[in-house]
Symmetry: C2
Subunit: 515 residues, 2 copies
């Protein structure tokens, strides 16, 4: 059927969507979400049809992207036909019925996600089915490969490429900022890409950005890594696995994360990693609550790594409380720099040398942890970090206290005495976000007490930092309500952890997708 083109000057973020009057659609046999084949001037494009009652008949309306793809500007006659169901959608439907998908079936889905041929409805159903049925290792591998194939690759030559990843979930985890310079200082190549925070107070990219630019292009990254052996850059704009970003957009409102393994491993593969340590924080405050779950996930990482040609070891780390004391981009960058200078908290130091040591042993070194300690002790790691900062465009002579933190701050004090029994990750995250993190880099929390510390009435439990007075007040009010640091003389005296249903309001556990 010939229809007259209308162009809406609106972009859809790439989605190939057209709008048809519903009567016209009925004439074409087209229902909402069906595909239509559009032909104009020798060009052919497939688009998803949305129907609307109040659009004129005999017309087809294009969003900007699809109008450009077809080369129409308005008032052209476009041939419109019902298109068959895309193969990828047939495969999505098979997954809804519980079928295991084969490699090429998964490839059709990932390709059509990247090329925006699948609608939000269809992607959501696919991810929900993956979440409920779980993924076979073959499916994890196929998803990883398809996501690598549809993205950009980095090339640092033939040699050994080391990498580290944390599945996230622990506030204040600035390990990468200490580990990368340790590994590079020992002469290895470690091109580390990181994410920005989505639901947490800071991602590694947010932390590093308080020291130097992180938004580097591929050519710049290669120059930095060639010069220093390492980098600490934002991976988000590199298009390493563009499918993953599109999946995350849909996973976020649902609070599900079924593609954890392929999401992480595809990006490592695209970076050319040959040896990788994955940090799995385990404990009540972490994403993974029990060792059983942690070992199971670890086995999957190792197995998938095998199939993808990456030698993977996993670190199960203590995940019962935040790492170190600083939480929030600037406070964490200060603490990381202090740790490189030998003045950091014990847990931050220990985690960095433990994981760096595992990486060293993974590539054949003996006494890996000792080598890592040596890099810190001799200040070689600090020196390397300053080289990286300079190569990425920052000030190599930066002192921890040069990093600006929020001018507004206040202390939260103990209302009684006792020992710190529990630090609620979720409460800490919410208070830090209320204070302005991650967008306001100087906002955050400085813990003055950690698990097991003895506290007297009136002692400072933590400080809250903010860039604006109004946010400081919101954060303090929330801290008063949530009481993220829980005291007790003995565990027995605080047996009731929580009530369900909640005594006041809903349980609003926010979703920790960041990885």
């Amino acid at each position: 059927m010939e229809l007259i083109a209308g162009v809406l000057n609106i972009t859809t973020g790439g989605k190939r969507i057209v709008i048809l009057n519903d009567e016209t659609a009925a004439m074409l046999g087209v229902h909402s979400s069906d595909r239509v084949k559009l032909s104009y001037g020798g060009k052919k494009v497939i688009a998803i049809a949305n129907l609307a009652a109040d659009f004129p008949a005999d017309r087809i309306w294009f969003y900007t992207e699809i109008a450009q793809a077809l080369g129409v500007t308005g008032n052209e006659n476009v041939d419109v036909q019902l298109a068959p169901m895309p193969e990828s959608l047939g495969n999505v439907r098979a997954k809804l019925r519980g079928q295991r998908l084969r490699d090429h079936e998964i490839t059709t889905i990932v390709k059509d996600v990247v090329e925006q041929h699948l609608s939000d409805i269809e992607i959501s159903a696919f991810l929900t089915a993956l979440k409920i049925y779980g993924l076979s290792m073959a499916e994890n591998e196929a998803l990883s490969r398809a996501m690598v194939e549809t993205g950009m690759h980095m090339n640092f030559g033939e040699g050994t490429i080391l990498d580290k990843h944390s599945i996230g979930g622990i506030p204040g985890d600035k390990t990468s900022m200490i580990l990368v310079p340790i590994v590079a200082a020992a002469g290895f190549t470690i091109p580390k890409t990181s994410s920005r925070a989505i639901t947490s107070p800071a991602g590694t990219a947010d932390r590093v950005e308080t020291l130097c630019p992180v938004n580097l292009e591929i050519g710049e990254i290669q120059r930095v890594v060639k010069k220093t052996g390492g980098c600490l850059v934002w991976g988000g704009a590199l298009d390493l696995a563009p499918a993953d970003d599109l999946f995350i957009r849909v996973e976020y409102p649902l609070g599900i994360d079924p593609m954890l393994l392929p999401s992480i491993m595809s990006k490592k593969k695209a970076m050319g990693a040959t040896h990788l340590v994955v940090d799995i924080p385990t404990g009540m405050g972490a994403k993974i609550k029990t060792p059983t779950e942690a070992y199971s996930l670890a086995a999957d990482f190792v197995h998938l790594g095998n199939h993808l040609g990456i030698n993977v070891h996993c670190a199960l780390t203590f995940g019962e409380q935040p790492l170190g004391c600083g939480i929030g981009p600037a406070l964490e960058a200060r603490e990381a720099l202090n740790t490189l200078m030998g003045k950091g908290p014990v847990d931050v130091h220990d985690k960095a040398v433990s994981i760096a040591g595992m990486l060293f042993e993974l590539v054949g070194k003996k006494n890996g942890r000792q080598l890592a300690e040596e890099m810190l002790h001799t200040r070689k790691a600090e020196c390397k970090m300053r080289q990286i900062i300079e190569a990425q465009g920052g000030n190599p002579n930066v002192k921890p206290e040069d990093i600006p933190v929020g001018p507004e701050h206040a202390e939260v004090r103990a209302k009684g005495k006792g020992r710190v029994l529990w630090i609620k990750t979720e409460g800490i995250v919410q208070v830090a976000r209320a204070a302005g993190t991650p967008k306001e880099a100087g906002a955050g929390i400085m813990l003055h007490t950690k698990l097991g510390d003895a506290v007297a009435k009136g002692d400072v439990l933590f400080e809250v930092y903010a860039e604006r007075a109004s946010k400081l007040q919101s954060a303090l009010a929330l801290a008063e309500k949530l009481e993220p640091v829980v005291l007790s003389r003995k565990p027995e005296e605080r047996m009731l952890l929580d009530q369900y249903p909640a005594k006041t309001g809903k349980h609003e556990k926010s979703f920790m997708l960041d990885r």
Copy 2:
């Protein structure tokens, strides 16, 4: 944060969506699909945020509906804040984790679907989870009740209200057109609402529309039913269960139908039905392939009916082939009228009197089938049908041959001899749709042979009717390819039913959502 309102003159079909620049969203702590609370001039509205990079910062863009709801026309200062996650979304997430939802939890979801507070992503995930986990009877009941509560109700007084429903899937099933006048002729009230075809060649509303208007308003329906005891109208515009239409929009591209029970039963409840027979066609060509599945579904219908205060019986009917010979709105209306006049195919007659008989016995009559036969035999049913046609605004004296069928037609003949072993429902549907059904009412198929018939080489298997020559040619080409009528002298000679993967192209089983 104060943002300047911009208004896009585009409707979203009711969805409450606003667009924010992604940097502005980050300042607000808003991610794609998060909710924002908008305040302007004393009005407050919650909307779903979509993010776009190429929209100006410091502005918020409204689609028409939400602009109207808030009373902005452009350039006003609107206060925008991150809103908490809606309770309904928390309940959707609980379902993704496999939780059974309680009544009030389901109510929040249905209410927010109707009020367009849930996005396509979220509705799709909910329906996918229902499809995979299945629904408990309590969930089916809660969904039914919530869908009734959020829709319009009909009131035909205190007495007994009869109804009939088929779960669909059998081409040519015009039973309602014969059953409704039989039941009304016997003095009962049967206000029948029907759907239009979505993926089948004709729905009851499409068939009846070749005889009289079906798009009646609630007041008109009550007048028709008061006058004649029955009606045959389109239920789609009555808003009986508006949630269902919104769910179906999302189910359609996914080819899933998890809400079959509440979808049907909510509409029956809204019509005030007290006694209902549900037809479950069972067999290779039907939605339900085996008696085991059919009995299980039947038990669920009866059980749910009990809870909703509707006395339900189910009919398991032969579902191996199309019903009667005519397929397509006009051809089926002709056949229905012929059956009422005593000249219809045996299977059409038998199915109508069987199910009408069940309804009669459900309300306490003895020898129900005999009473139904009598209504046909005495022409009281035909007379009643003509009253209904007149009351709905059609010509009561219409003869079957007055109903126009497609002027383009051609015969498809047997290429060999044998018996009709199998009639592929899916093939018949595809050929009929290629010929122009359901939109072109005169298009369709007239079967000349049914299961078990002996056929000689060159005999007519079926005729194809179309309103346009081009569609006739498409339909004939498809018939040549699909060979929907399968011949064999003995079953043993045709052991191979199909190949997987398909020899040529994909298996494209279209989705029979119509119910």
